[in-house]
C-alpha cells in the first residue's frame, strides 16, 4: 500500500510543541463542553509547579473567556474558538468569536483604555464601572475585561478579522505569568490565529498536543461526548468512542517515551470531519525497528475483506501474538471491522532510531 504522507501530523506536532499549544478547539460550545474543557485544563494546570494563586487566576480567566464565546455564540450561532498554551512559565489563553461590526469600536476602545491604565487606576476603573452598573446587551458590563486584565497583570491582546461588512472575528488573548515578578509574556496571537485558520480549512475541530495517559484518555472521551458529533445515532456515537479509545490507548500503551519516564508518552491527536464523517488522527513516536512490524500489520489488515477480517479477529482472539502482551494484537483488525474503512498511516523519519507515526481513521456518521 502507498503511504499517504499528506495525513502526517508531525509538522503540526512540532509547531504546537514549539508554541506550547496544548489544546485547541473550534466549533460550537455547549455548556457540557465548556465544563469538560475547564476540568481538563484544571487537571493540566494542577500538575504544574505553579503557585495556587496563579492557578486560580488562570481558572477565572478561562471561565471569562469561555463565557465570552458562549455569550456571542447564542446570538450569532457561529463557531467559537479556544486555545490553551503553556509557554515557558506562562499560561496563554486565546478565545475567538464572531461579533457584529458595530461592536468592534466599543470593544477596541474599552481594551485600549484598560491597557493604558496602571494597576491602581485599573482598580478605580473597576469600581467606577461596577457602580455605573450599565449592563451591556449581552449581560456583561465590561467588568470581565477589566478583571481579566487585573488578574493576569498583563496587557490584553486582541485582533479583529473582517469576515464581511456585517461581521468580524474577534481574537482575544490573555497572558498569565506564573512568575509574578517577571511580566514579560509573549504575544502569540498571530501564530495562534494562523493555526486556527489552517485547521478550520482542514475541518479540524479539536487538537491536543502533549502527554498521553489513561487519565487524559478519560478526559478526552468526556470532551468528545460533549462536542458536535453527538448528533449521530447512539450506535455511531459508541463506534466513535470505541475507535477513539483504541487509538489513544495505542499511544499510551505503545507510544515511545522520549525521556526516562515510561508513563509519559508524547503525541498529538485531532478530531475532524463534519456531520457525515468523523476523522480521528493520532501521532506518536516509534522506534525505527518497530516500523516494519506495524506497517506489515496495517497493510495486511487493510488488504482483507470483511469476512477475512472476522476470521483474523477470531484467530487473533484465540491465539494472540506473543509480542503484544499489553494489547491483544486486535486493535487494527477491530478498527477496520468497525469503521469499514482502510487505516491510513505514514511514518516521518526523525533520526537513526526514531520516527513519527501518524494513523488516521474515518468513521461514517
Amino acid at each position: 500500500m502507498q503511504q499517504q504522507n499528506n495525513i502526517s501530523l508531525y509538522k503540526n506536532y512540532i509547531q504546537m510543541q514549539e508554541l506550547g499549544l496544548e489544546y485547541l478547539y473550534c466549533g460550537h460550545f455547549t455548556l457540557n463542553l465548556t465544563e469538560s474543557i475547564l476540568s481538563f485544563a484544571e487537571n493540566k494546570l494542577a500538575k504544574n509547579e505553579e503557585t495556587g494563586k496563579v492557578n486560580k487566576k488562570t481558572y477565572f480567566i478561562m471561565v471569562e473567556s469561555l463565557q465570552n464565546i458562549t455569550r456571542h455564540q447564542k446570538e450569532q450561532d457561529k463557531e467559537g474558538f479556544f486555545a490553551l498554551q503553556k509557554l515557558n512559565e506562562n499560561t496563554v489563553i486565546t478565545s475567538g468569536n464572531y461579533i457584529s461590526a458595530k461592536e468592534v469600536n466599543p470593544i477596541k476602545e474599552k481594551i485600549e483604555k484598560i491597557n493604558s491604565l496602571t494597576t491602581d487606576e485599573l482598580k478605580n476603573y473597576y469600581m467606577e464601572t461596577l457602580q455605573l452598573n450599565s449592563l451591556s446587551d449581552k449581560g456583561g458590563a465590561g467588568l470581565g475585561l477589566i478583571e481579566m486584565a487585573r488578574k493576569s497583570g498583563n496587557k490584553l491582546v486582541y485582533d479583529f478579522v473582517t469576515i464581511n461588512p456585517e461581521y468580524y472575528y474577534f481574537y482575544f488573548q490573555t497572558n498569565i505569568c506564573s512568575n509574578l515578578i517577571s511580566s514579560i509574556c509573549p504575544n502569540t496571537i498571530s501564530q495562534v490565529k494562523e493555526i486556527h485558520e489552517k485547521i478550520s480549512e482542514a475541518k479540524i475541530k479539536l487538537i491536543y498536543q502533549g502527554l498521553f495517559s489513561q487519565e487524559s484518555l478519560l478526559e478526552f472521551i468526556k470532551m468528545f461526548e460533549n462536542t458536535g458529533h453527538s448528533k449521530a445515532e447512539l450506535s455511531v456515537q459508541k463506534k466513535n468512542i470505541h475507535i477513539l479509545i483504541e487509538l489513544l490507548q495505542n499511544i499510551s500503551l505503545h507510544g515511545l517515551s522520549l525521556n526516562n519516564n515510561k508513563n509519559e508518552k508524547p503525541g498529538i491527536y485531532t478530531v475532524g470531519g463534519d456531520e457525515n464523517i468523523c476523522i480521528f488522527t493520532t501521532g506518536n513516536f516509534i522506534e525505527n525497528n518497530e516500523i516494519d512490524t506495524v506497517k506489515n500489520k496495517i497493510d495486511y489488515t487493510n488488504s482483507l475483506n470483511p469476512l477475512e477480517l472476522e476470521e483474523l479477529y477470531d484467530k487473533t482472539l484465540l491465539n494472540p501474538p506473543k509480542e503484544s502482551i499489553k494489547g491483544a494484537g486486535l486493535g487494527f483488525i477491530d478498527m477496520r471491522l468497525k469503521t469499514h474503512s482502510k487505516i491510513n498511516y505514514c511514518f516521518d523519519p526523525i533520526n537513526d532510531s526514531t520516527s513519527f507515526f501518524t494513523v488516521q481513521l474515518n468513521i461514517v456518521q
Binding site: 489513561q214 484518555l217 478519560l218 445515532e233 447512539l234 450506535s235 459508541k238 463506534k239 468512542i241 470505541h242 479509545i245 483504541e246 490507548q249 499510551s252 500503551l253 472476522e310 479477529y313 477470531d314 482472539l317 484465540l318 494472540p320 502482551i325 499489553k326 494489547g327 491483544a328 486486535l330 486493535g331 477491530d334 468497525k338
Partner: protein, 123 residues
C-alpha cells in the same frame, strides 16, 4: 468462598459474582489500561465458583463498550462459563443498546468461539 463485588469506575465495569444465588453480572464500560490485571481476580472467583459444584448459574453481560485488551479477557471468562455450564443449569444473556450491531456481533462471536449459548437482548 466469598462473593465478589467491584464497583464500576470510568474505565472498568461493575462486577458482581453472587456465589449463593449463582449470579454473575458485568455492567458498563471496560477499557482499563491493564485488562489482564483487572480480570485476574474475576477469573479466579469464577473458577472457585466452578469448584463448589454449583446448582444454577445466571450471567448477565451489560457492557456498553470494551477495548481490545478486554476482549481477550472476556473470552477467558466465557471459557470458564462453558465449564460451569457443563455442571449446572446455565443461562447467559448479553444486553446491548438499540441498534448497536457491533456489540450484538461481539456476543455472537463469543458464543461461536467459546461454545456457550448466549441469548442477545436489545435494551
Amino acid at each position: 468462598m466469598e462473593s465478589l463485588v467491584i464497583p464500576h469506575t470510568d474505565d472498568t465495569p461493575y462486577v458482581n459474582l453472587d456465589i449463593e444465588k449463582g449470579f454473575f453480572v458485568l455492567e458498563n464500560c471496560s477499557f482499563p489500561e491493564d485488562a489482564v490485571g483487572f480480570y485476574a481476580p474475576i477469573l479466579e472467583a469464577l473458577q472457585s465458583f466452578l469448584a463448589v459444584a454449583p446448582k444454577k448459574f445466571t450471567c448477565e453481560i451489560k457492557l456498553k463498550y470494551f477495548n481490545t485488551s478486554s476482549a481477550k479477557q472476556l473470552l477467558q471468562i466465557f471459557e470458564v462459563i462453558r465449564q460451569i455450564s457443563g455442571h449446572c443449569d446455565t443461562s447467559v444473556t448479553w444486553f446491548y443498546d438499540k441498534g448497536d450491531k457491533d456489540m450484538q456481533q461481539a456476543a455472537e462471536r463469543y458464543s461461536r468461539l467459546s461454545g456457550v449459548v448466549i441469548v442477545t437482548k436489545e435494551n
